[in-house]
């Protein structure tokens, strides 16, 4: 999308001509009147040159696409002026992935390119855990006087950056639909892993009778195994305007949420279960649960490109009624047996009410909440306290909450949560 803007760079230069002209006339100094000519010339200058042509090719190369977390990756960007007119003032801002920091150099550059000329700049990123994709490069071209600015985005083809450590099991509940699957449930029934022994009832399968015990004691008893069931999971990211909160120095909660959704969905797919994506925000984002490489690619692409999940906050906040409509639509699309992972920083009461409503339908709900409060000012401390109150309210309502301190990885937060739930 290309935007053409008039900068106000030369606004006010007419005053030079007017002042000089007025002074020259008032004091009858012809030399001063001559300087008014120079002023008038400068007033005409911004209007002379046409819009600059923005036909650039951007090529981005990474020194490695599969680093370990903490490694440094060098990114080299080459920009070529593909039009036949010179670009006298070109500014570039490379689309660094939202969760990564620039360790050395700058992802921005300015250059003046003749027709066909190219320029290169490079910078270093510190790889953080997760899969990261580069965003399009912003290209801003100005004409030589600086009066008109053309902004556009160019998407060079780059590989994504994957720096991963394994995530332990996703926090999905053990009982769901009656279809057999790979998740071991706590219910006893048919299966492979031993669960318990109970008294024999008429109709029990003869192959499940514990004959060893019958031989020892003479009692008939049936062995039960842990039932294996399939599971359908949807990860729902809260991307409404209040959720774009966070400390100044780090990524905001929605970026954390998108990264967490990616990890959790990968963990569910690793267990060969179905997973899908949803998001509340500008518009309802929905991708029905599924499995397989095609589906995984679709979800990954949706996470990175859907406007609701954009790293830029919405320019104006939508009203609650819009989100309530999205919530209603989400509830109809979610089956009663679908487990829900709600990823939200808990910025207001709306999402707490929404979570309680969704859980009241009888489905399993787990809230994963990135903690982006940095209690330095009194206002931020209040926000942290309010967030803790919302977590308590959810837990009292019987909903499991993973309180994730974003300084640590999601894996550690899940391990801690699991320890607490098993107590």
């Amino acid at each position: 999308m290309t935007t053409v803007r008039r900068t106000n760079h030369w606004r006010g230069v007419v005053a030079v001509a007017l002042l000089a002209g007025a002074t020259g006339l008032l004091f009858k100094r012809p030399f001063v009147l001559l300087t008014a000519c120079v002023g008038a010339g400068y007033a005409i200058y911004p209007h002379v040159r046409p819009e600059p042509p923005v036909d650039v090719g951007v090529d981005r190369r990474l020194s490695e696409t599969d680093p370990s977390p903490g490694d440094e990756v060098t990114v080299e960007v080459t920009v070529e002026n593909e039009s036949d007119r010179p670009l006298p003032d070109l500014r570039l801002v490379d689309g660094v992935p939202p969760m990564l920091t620039v360790a050395d150099g700058s992802a921005r550059h300015a250059a003046a390119l003749r027709a066909g000329e190219s320029t290169t700049f490079s910078y270093t990123l510190t790889a953080a855990h997760g899969t990261h994709q580069f965003r399009p490069t912003t290209v801003i071209a100005r004409d030589v006087s600086g009066a008109t600015e053309v902004e556009t985005a160019v998407e060079p083809s780059t590989d994504e950056l994957r720096a991963l450590t394994a995530l332990p099991d996703a926090p999905i509940e053990q009982d769901s639909s009656p279809f057999p699957g790979n998740v071991l449930t706590d219910e006893s029934g048919e299966g492979v892993e031993f669960s318990r022994v109970r008294e024999y009832r008429r109709g029990d399968d003869r192959s499940r009778i514990d004959w060893n015990r019958f031989a020892r004691t003479g009692d008939l008893s049936t062995v039960e195994f842990r039932r294996e069931q399939s599971v359908t999971v949807v990860a729902c990211v809260d991307a409404r305007a209040p959720a774009y909160c966070g400390a100044e120095s780090g990524p905001h909660a929605v970026s954390h949420g998108v990264a967490a959704a990616q990890e959790l969905l990968e963990a569910v797919w690793d267990r060969n279960e179905k997973a899908g994506l949803a998001a509340l925000g500008r518009e309802l984002c929905w991708l029905a649960p599924g499995q397989g490489t095609d589906h995984e690619e679709r979800v990954r692409h949706r996470l990175l490109s859907h406007p609701t999940l954009s790293p830029r906050p919405p320019s104006d906040a939508e009203s609650d009624s819009v989100h309530e409509a999205q919530l209603r639509e989400l509830r109809t699309r979610l089956g009663p047996a679908t487990q829900l992972l709600l990823i939200t920083p808990l910025p207001d009461g709306f999402i707490v009410d929404a979570a309680l409503e969704l859980a009241a339908d009888g489905r399993e709900l787990t809230v994963v909440s990135p903690d982006v409060t940095a209690p330095e000012t009194p206002g931020e401390r209040l926000a942290a306290v309010e967030r803790r109150n919302r977590i308590h309210r959810l837990r009292r309502g019987g909903i499991r909450v993973v309180d994730w301190d974003t300084e640590a990885t999601l894996a550690e937060a899940l391990i801690r949560a699991r320890t607490r739930w098993s107590q």
Binding site: H9, V14, T35, S145
Partner: protein, 234 residues
Amino acid sequence: MTLAAADRTAADHRPTAIASIASVLLASGAAILVGGSVAPTRPILLVAFGIALVAGGATERFDDTTEGWVLTGVGALFVLGAFLAAGAASADRLGRVVLYPALVGVTVLGIALRPVRDDWAAVLATTGAGLVFAAVLLAGVTRVADRFALLLGTVGVVAAWDAARYATTLGQQVGRTATTHRAEVVHVAATLLVGAVFVALAETAWAVGVTGLPLAGLLVFLGAAVAFLIVLYA
């Protein structure tokens, strides 16, 4: 500013170096030119040098270090010394009338480029350049400067203002950490070239003998030019 903060380093978004230096040099040069033989040049040179030291203390290498603070302090002393020298100089009144606005103008321009506050940068740059332009006009009114010096002085003031605004916006958009040399040089050179073209035009107009015309005729001509400019801006 519609750019998202895609890189999370504490990037240096102060005005870029080359255009800032060009701006201060052009403003000082314009002030010295129109001062001519009447106004003392030493105060302007002292101010320019002082601003250079203060700016040096603010660069990335020296920022927040003791050397940086020493540089800033010494620079400020030079600026103060320049004002004292202007006060003590034994120039006649005409020279002082031209000198003082120019001195204050160059100082304000230097402050705009330091910068003290981001949202004041544009206002301060315009004020500084405006004060130096006032000095140019005064030099013209009091007949201290000759024709060519006045024309060059105007070009210098406008180029200094343009370079200061450019340095500020480029710093905000791209920052100092990035490489920006070529773009800055091209922009400042283009502004100076346009100025040179219009100075040549003005000199030609003078050589043709415009002052033979009656004042009323000149008034009509200027009125037409102003109307043309207003239409352009509409």
